[in-house]
Assembly symmetry: C2
Homo-oligomer: 156 residues x 2
């Protein structure tokens, strides 16, 4: 269990490589993301203080996600199979809950509704990342997010 400091921009995991580690964020902000065939970025998860960020594949399979730091951060580097121990069960369950909510919203909610959910759930992160990143997390384009925000103002 190693404690390391990483500068903004540091890449902790690349797509396709094997990685037996997950990252417990002490301070700062990580993100995990994918690139699609067109090279478009889709943020899978933000990792602020207290979160564990890692690829949800077994340690013997190639990673599906890139992980990097979007703020200077301090993280504990933990072996993936800590997941199998009781200690990290809480962080684990939290991840499952967030993913469940995300799948539900991606399937059943409009872009505006997903935005408003994000706004409520992560008020802290909102101000720490670019709109481009928020759009990427929501599964829409930055242009669509810009339009959506303007329309929401009109209605309120």
């Amino acid at each position: 269990m190693k404690r390391i400091k990483v500068k903004k921009g540091t890449v902790l995991q690349e797509f396709g490589e094997l990685n037996t580690k997950v990252y417990h964020v002490v301070s700062g902000l990580l993100r995990s993301y994918t690139l699609d065939q067109k090279g478009k970025e889709h943020i899978f998860m933000f990792g602020p203080e207290g979160w564990v960020v890692g690829d949800n594949v077994t340690p013997d399979l190639p990673c599906e996600l890139y992980i990097d730091a979007i703020e200077d951060s301090v993280v504990y580097v933990l072996p993936k199979d800590v997941n199998r121990e009781n200690k990290n069960a809480a962080a684990f369950i939290k991840r499952l809950g967030v993913l469940q909510k995300r799948v539900i919203l991606l399937m059943s909610a409009s872009a505006i509704e997903r935005y408003e959910h994000f706004e409520k759930t992560y008020p802290d992160i909102m101000s720490r990342v670019t709109q481009k990143m928020i759009a990427s997390y929501l599964g829409i384009t930055p242009e669509a997010l810009s339009t959506l925000k303007k329309e929401r103002l009109k209605k309120k």
Copy 2:
């Protein structure tokens, strides 16, 4: 740890209720799903033999999902916090992996691509559920799935 038989159509969990149980499927097929504001159904997960189906919220919070049997099934009823023990870690990790893939696909893949992924990943389930359910799982309408399948045939 109770072993029960449930008939097709049996409801194991309703939205909004408290439920401290998860269901380990011995035989048959369960599903979990949500209803949106318009009453439209969105299948969150299928649970064939070997799977654990449950709501990924802590036992003290109201459930986000309905769970029912879509085939006559035999299931073990387990307390949710078995999740915190080593025993179920594998099923747990599997669920996380599936959810990760689902989020990625919902964000970055077209309906056709999601269909083809489903086809490959769950060839067994394909023939056991209606197209309406597959559409619901993919996040599209049954009409769109029907059209999509026809177009895919032309190309092959």
